[in-house]
């Protein structure tokens, strides 16, 4: 199993498989250019749990359960499961919160950014510039000695809690009407729950074995000229591009894109915050779910930060609004974040600089 993804071409094939799994969810009914979006799906989950009440983004997404549990099961099966905690958990909560605010201003996590890029959404390329700049900023602090400190082994039960809670929530969502479900909007568009769960379980397992990470991919290129992780994204992008072109879903441009807006500066700054925070946290939102699945309580705390960030984003109107053309009953919407969202996002970026600057240590392998 150790040698399964030990070369760039094998990692690229892993990316191809991840891309195919995303295509299954796109065909299965997930929203436009949102076959998989970790941030959006956690936001939908927050809505279903009524942590926010935005009616169009409420659905207990089985994909989130699948990502965590797929990683959990494969890590157990391959003896890579290890329960750890204690590496600056509160700071990681804040980093999760900020990643979510940035992602929801842009309208997507790095994974959805890639999916949008493969469908020709030019706004996502603007987001990529911001994301890369954020990762570059994080790398500068890493080179200066940024560290959130060590995690230590803790009792095994700690690592079981998040997968168990997610599964219990899924059972409740499938068997009762307790959780909210959107009747219109992105939350109402979804693949069949069992299909979504099975696909996500496989996706989570492959992501665990390949160490797939959108922030780590660019970070490794910037810091070490290592193109291993980015080859996963290359494979995934190629599959999604072929799918979009073959099915006539590829439309290059800034306007007319599903669940997106063309407020360039805010797309750029939103993803800047995500990239910066993800480097400081040691991984993008997807990677945080995978790490939480393989036993990291610190990443489980980051997940909680993402969940609470989603609740704040919609309770206080911080998230970007999707652009929309005029209809007979409504005027055209330019979209993007409102004033509150812009101010909070800038505050989040300031907080990232404070976190980065106050967690520098001298380079010492033994400290």
């Amino acid at each position: 199993m150790d040698r399964l993804f030990d070369a760039k071409w094998k990692l690229a094939i892993g990316g191809v498989i991840l891309g195919l799994l995303a295509v299954i969810l796109a065909v299965g009914g997930n929203p436009g250019n949102m076959a998989i979006c970790v941030a959006c799906f956690i936001r939908d989950m927050a809505g279903s749990l009524k942590l926010h009440t935005a009616p169009v983004v409420q659905y207990y997404r089985p994909e989130i359960v699948g990502f965590v549990c797929g990683s959990f099961l494969i890590a157990l099966a391959t003896k890579e499961y290890r329960t750890t905690a204690g590496s600056s958990p509160v700071i990681r909560f804040i980093l999760g919160f900020i990643m979510m605010i940035g992602a929801l201003v842009f309208l997507g996590c790095p994974l959805r950014m890639l999916i949008r890029m493969a469908a020709g959404d030019a706004n996502a390329y603007v987001g990529l510039v911001g994301f890369a700049a954020g990762i570059g900023t994080g790398c500068i602090f890493l080179k200066k000695g940024f560290s959130l400190g060590r995690a230590y082994e803790v009792k095994k039960v700690n690592g079981f809690i998040l997968p168990a809670l997610l599964v219990i929530g899924l059972v409740v969502s499938l068997t009762t009407a307790l959780f909210a479900v959107s009747e219109s909007g992105p939350g109402s568009m979804h693949a069949a729950p069992i299909l979504a769960l099975v696909v996500a379980l496989v996706f989570g397992a492959i992501a665990q074995k390949t160490r797939a990470c959108f922030a780590g991919s660019l970070r490794d290129v910037f810091l070490m000229k290592d193109f291993s992780l980015i080859s996963i994204l290359g494979g995934m992008f190629a599959v999604l591009l072929v799918y979009n072109v073959a099915t006539g879903k590829f439309h290059f441009g800034f306007t007319g894109q599903p669940i997106a807006h063309a407020q360039h500066i805010w797309n750029l700054l939103g993803m800047y915050a995500v990239g910066f925070a993800a480097v400081l946290a040691g991984g993008c939102p997807l990677r945080q779910l995978v790490l939480a699945g393989q036993g990291s309580s610190d990443s489980a705390i980051t997940f909680l930060g993402l969940l609470v960030g989603a609740a704040f984003a919609h309770n206080f109107g911080l998230a970007g609004v999707a652009a929309a053309a005029a209809t007979e009953t409504s005027e055209a919407v330019a979209g993007g974040p409102g004033t509150a969202g812009k101010i909070v996002l800038i505050c989040c970026i300031v907080v990232l600089f404070i976190i980065a600057a106050t967690n520098l240590k001298k380079s010492d392998a033994k400290s």
Binding site: D2, D6, T78, K79, E80, R82, T84, G86, S87, L142, S147, L148, G149, R150, A151, Y152, E153, R211, C213, G216, R219, D220, L223, M224, D226, S228, A281, G282, G283, S363, A365, K366
Partner: protein, 71 residues
């Protein structure tokens, strides 16, 4: 028995383990390193770095952790 320079990367987030190992290689040319890691993916990443630098090594599990010895 070789005299190893210890690089303890246990419990650190990515990419610190690889950065610390690379820094130790650079600071101690020709000397043997003992790298202590706690996570399987960290072991994989450190091994990948050593291969890219053409450094011979042996890797073993010690309890629930990993020990990588360079030659």
């Amino acid at each position: 028995m070789a005299d190893y320079i210890e690089v303890d990367v246990r419990g650190l987030s990515c990419p610190e383990p690889v950065m610390l190992t690379a820094a130790a290689l650079k600071a101690n040319p020709g000397k043997a390193l003992k790298i202590l890691a706690s996570e399987a993916h960290v072991r994989t990443n450190v091994e990948k770095l050593l291969k890219s630098k053409k450094v011979d090594f042996t890797s073993s599990e010690v309890g629930s952790e990993y020990e990588i010895l360079t030659k």
